[in-house]
């Protein structure tokens, strides 16, 4: 039974989502503030976090960054602001997915299951166990660890999955749509922003110099390609 933590300041939304998700079969904890959410993250130990972007006190983006600093738990952002910039900022702060409020419980449930599947799939990716070397980047597909210049890189589930997908077929160009399907399992199409934001985060974590990426290359108009140099 997946454990979900809801961080949401509006009582009606918090209770509504909690009720709906409980009915969908999740074990749910709820926090009204970012601080409380971070506390419950420690005590409750959720499998996924649903995080409201606009919170009193500590804003959602800050909460997201703090969670990401020491935890790779999947984060789904729930935002009442559907503007591109809000979504992109949220995704770049480390969220794995986002939903624009209002959202039906079934959709939210599907998204939670999708991110959980991603984590499961990543950790359960028991192909031929091997360690790949791409320049300074070492990817251990069996141990699901990534090191860059000998230092371990803490990647979120989406980032890890993206890196594994891209590096499994180095040199091949993936369209954003293909990556959306492979990494986020969205069967609807569109949100290329997810891919772009995740690539940006991934590049930052594996120390890509701005404007001259060494591993994840942009193929203008098509998508992305992996290749060391």
């Amino acid at each position: 039974m997946p454990r979900v933590l809801i961080i949401e300041d509006d009582r009606a939304v918090r209770e509504g989502v909690r009720l709906a998700l409980r009915r969908q079969g999740h074990e749910v904890a709820a926090a009204a503030t970012g601080e409380d959410g971070l506390e419950q993250l420690r005590t409750f130990g959720p499998d996924a976090v649903i995080l409201d972007l606009m919170l009193p006190g500590m804003p959602g983006l800050e909460v997201c960054r703090r969670i990401r600093a020491h935890d790779q738990v999947p984060i789904i952002m729930a935002t009442a602001r559907g503007d591109d910039t809000d979504i992109v900022v949220g995704l770049e702060a480390g969220a794995d997915d986002y939903v624009v409020k209002p959202v039906r419980a079934r959709v939210l449930d599907a998204r939670i299951r999708a991110v959980l599947r991603r984590v499961g799939a990543a950790s359960g990716d028991h192909g031929t166990p091997r360690t790949e070397h791409h320049g300074d980047l070492v990817i251990d597909r069996a141990g699901l660890t990534v090191t860059h210049q000998g230092r371990p890189v803490a990647l979120g589930p989406s980032e890890l999955r993206l890196l594994l997908t891209l590096s499994a077929s180095a040199g091949q160009v993936f369209s954003r749509q293909q990556l959306l399907e492979a990494v986020w399992e969205h069967n609807y199409h569109g949100d290329a922003r997810l891919v772009d934001a995740c690539v940006k985060r991934l590049r930052a974590k594996i120390g890509e110099p701005a404007g001259r990426p060494r591993y994840v290359h942009t193929v203008r108009g098509f998508g992305y390609r992996f290749g060391s140099r």
Partner: protein, 498 residues
Amino acid sequence: MLRALSGLRVRLVVAFTLVAVVATVTTGALTFREARTGVLQQSQDTVIEDFRHRVNTLVPNYRFPPDESGLQSFANDVSRGGRSQNWRVLAAYRDASATSRPGDSFRELSQAMRESVRTRRATVFQRVTRDGHSSLVVGMPVTFAGQYGTQRRASGLEVYLTVPQREEQGYVDALVAAIERATVPALALAVLMALLAARGVLRPVRALRRATRSIAEGRLDTRLAVQGSDELADLSRTFNETAAALEGSVAELRRMEAGARRFAADVSHELRTPLAAMSAVTDVLDEDAAGLDDDTAMAVRLISEETTKLAGLVDDLMEVSRFDAGAAALHLDDIDLAESVRRTLASRGWLDTVRTSLPEPGALRGRVDPRRLDVIVANLVANALRHGAPPVRLRLRAEDDPHAGRRAVVEVSDGGDGIPDGVLPHVFDRFYKSDSARTRSEGSGLGLAITTENVRLHGGTVRAANHPDGGAVFTVVLPLRPDGAKAPVRRAAKEEQA
């Protein structure tokens, strides 16, 4: 060319020149006439007086009636007496005549004049121009004084004099030349004045024209520099006042419009929070409705349905306010359009209800915003399903335009009654409700408006029409930019950066 000729400058120059010509010519002509008359009158008076005096002095010295030699010497004597050496004299008595110069035919003397001298018994004169030279011809009958000086009797002796008027002609010619010489500077001065006047008028007029154009192009802060206090300065001042008033009104309108837009966005946004709570539990309500009594179940389902609709409406409103605020950006991606359309239909469960005619996979690729293409197609198909009748058809094809390049055409048609003619022009308007056939809809009334905005963002067109065989046809034409072509809207910074 024609416009330049009918321009103010040309008209002013022509008018000034005409005035100058009329003035100089009239003045010249009058002056000329008076001067000429004066010159000629004076000279002829002198000549006639001299002539008469001479004849009167000489006549008593001759025997009467004169013989031929007497006539000859009389003519010679009279001609010698003239102050000028150019006197030619003809003396005639009955059929005999003699001239002061031998063989002089005296062609200047006309028969009419001789007749007049003979009959009127008075001094007669005439100006004659011959071969370009004018001369004065004077004729005088010699008369005897009558008894008591009352009646004069003709003696039959007639004396004629021809004096060339070279000197007078010279005066007149000089007069004409002077008038001509005076006309040229007058005309030049008139043209110069006209140009100056035109410049004085045209400069402010041109400034006014430039300023008006500038205002029309949206630079509402355009003002004119006002100089002087004439009518043109008044006009410039009025222009400035009008421009200021216009600028104020437009600013006020913009402020109000921005306020209204912000209000719509804020309201929509505020609605999202309660809707988020309601939407989350609608599934719970739907599930539990089965176990409730009929009335309660109906009430619960109604709330659930309306919540879903309200959520859709708020979503659409947010989208529209994003378009209004100019905050909608294109995220172009190179995609297979047929596949994209198929996904749109599949994700909404319409694959079985919509008949499609799509190109082969990979045959039609282009740079579009996949999310917005999804909205375009979904709204058109939803509209056809909701308002039209089956069969709903979707056709996607490529079209090569010599000017616009390669374009994708999406055609959605239905088998309904079509759209009434009065409704057609408004079908893309926001919240437009047409006649009873298309009234109470499940949609927000914003779907087609959002479609239009999305198409426009791509630089494409959308139009609605009725098929000759019945049913409405919506056609979307989207330009397919080859990779690297510039998008009409700034792409997201992250993509540029990548």
